[in-house]
């Protein structure tokens, strides 16, 4: 960021003249971008390639900002290095980062020809650009009022007036791309297809499950349909499948029945000391210990009936 500050010291970014600060920024960021591009092409590991490309895109975004394209610079950093490169890395991890290049040349001499082509293209482009743009004095974005009121309002004004139709078309393009990605990336395997109800029933009858019927729900044949009540079999015994294996079984405690002469018991608060001395002996409905111990079967339902009452 100090490079950007330097660039702003030497004049507004994107101005007609390139100041000293912008020169320094370019001669640092340009080689970084070139090195990143070369590293991306020549790195064996695909993850290294992706990281090199991220560095290149980052320095390109800073170069956009140095040229006055502040909006594009930030979009470059956010969209490219933030979203697109991370998408590339995700896919690399999914595909397997060991899937590096095969060294086998399918077409003989293709690599040398490609390198020759690349060098030729670079020489042609550099020569053409260098000869064609010798005496160009840039107008600068501030001079013609293009960056009027800032870069973002200028771009917004253009997008929503002159390029409105193209902008609307990009929305259709983005929707199509999202739909296409969903269709293409959808796993069309039969292994995860959902079984229909009929197929489930037939699989049960064929004996693929331990039992034909589903597990009994709570409260089947019992006197209440609470989840706390175990299911009862037709002979009155508890169905063991209806008991949860995770939740501990706790015995049902009957609610305390207050003695009619003690109004404090209705509030649920503990008794005072003076009251307790008179009531301890005369507590025939005291709950603790009066509860019958549960038997093997059937007593649970009785206890729950007592609680429901």
């Amino acid at each position: 960021m100090s490079l950007l500050l330097l660039a702003q010291d030497a004049g507004l970014p994107g101005g007609a003249d390139t100041g000293l600060g912008e020169g320094i920024a370019f001669w640092i960021l340009g080689p970084v971008a070139l090195a990143g591009a070369l590293g991306m092409v020549f790195a064996r590991n695909a993850v290294h390639s992706a990281l090199c490309l991220a560095g290149t895109m980052l320095s390109l975004g800073l170069l956009y900002m140095a040229q006055g394209a502040l909006f594009l610079g930030f979009v470059q950093i956010i969209v490219y290095t933030g979203a697109v490169m991370m998408l590339f890395l995700f896919v690399l991890m999914l595909v397997g980062r060991d899937s590096s290049d095969s060294v086998v040349e399918v077409l003989r001499g293709q690599r040398a020809a490609a390198l020759l082509f690349g060098v030729g293209l670079a020489v042609l482009l550099v020569a053409a650009v260098g000869r064609a743009f010798t005496d160009v004095t840039p107008v600068g974005l501030d001079a013609g009022g293009a960056n009027w009121n800032g870069n973002v309002p200028g771009i917004g004004r253009l997008i929503f007036t002159k390029y409105l139709f193209a902008f609307e078309l990009t929305s259709a393009l983005l929707i199509t791309a999202a739909l296409g990605a969903m269709v293409l990336a959808y796993a069309q395997t039969r292994a995860h297809a959902k079984r229909s109800q009929r197929e489930t029933v037939e699989a049960r009858l064929r004996g693929e499950h331990a039992r034909i019927s589903p597990l009994p729900g709570p409260g089947v044949f019992a006197t209440a349909n609470s989840v706390a009540v175990p299911a009862l079999l037709p002979d009155g015994s508890i169905a063991p499948e209806s008991l949860s294996e995770i939740i501990d079984r706790t015995d049902v405690q009957p609610a305390p029945v207050p003695s009619p002469d003690d109004a404090h018991a209705l509030t649920g608060r503990p008794h005072n000391d003076s009251d307790r001395s008179g009531h301890d002996a005369s507590a025939p409905h005291s709950v603790r210990g009066s509860r019958p111990a549960p038997d093997q079967n059937g007593t649970y339902a009785d206890a729950v009936e007592g609680a429901d009452r």
């Binding site: 070139l34 591009a37 594009l72 697109v84 399918v106 550099v126 650009v129 870069n151 791309a177 293409l184």
Partner: protein, 99 residues
């Protein structure tokens, strides 16, 4: 320095990207090289906007970015589906469109 250096840098980046598309065999790396070429063109568009004193070049670069994002999404989905059926990401093995 003049703004021509930006154009030279853009030309060099484009050439490197083109060489990468031709040389590399991993489909994802080929895709990244295409992205590098698009970025090089964006740099020259931004420079042209500055030279001409109009923002049209920047708007064009913006549209290139939108199209590139859509292209990345669809292309990576295609690579994923090819990888799922072929268990490979090499473009030499994807010589049939089906199966």
């Amino acid at each position: 320095m003049s703004t021509t250096y930006y154009l030279l840098l853009s030309a060099l980046l484009f050439s490197i990207g083109a060489v990468g598309v031709l040389v590399r065999r991993n489909a994802i790396v080929v895709f990244m090289c295409v992205e590098l070429m698009l970025n090089a063109v964006n740099l020259s568009l931004v420079t042209f906007a500055r030279i001409n004193g109009a923002l049209d070049g920047q708007v064009m670069a913006f549209f290139v970015m939108v199209v590139a994002a859509a292209e990345v999404v669809v292309g990576l989905a295609i690579i994923m589906s090819i990888f799922r059926t072929r268990r490979t990401a090499s473009i030499d093995d994807a010589n049939l469109l089906k199966y």
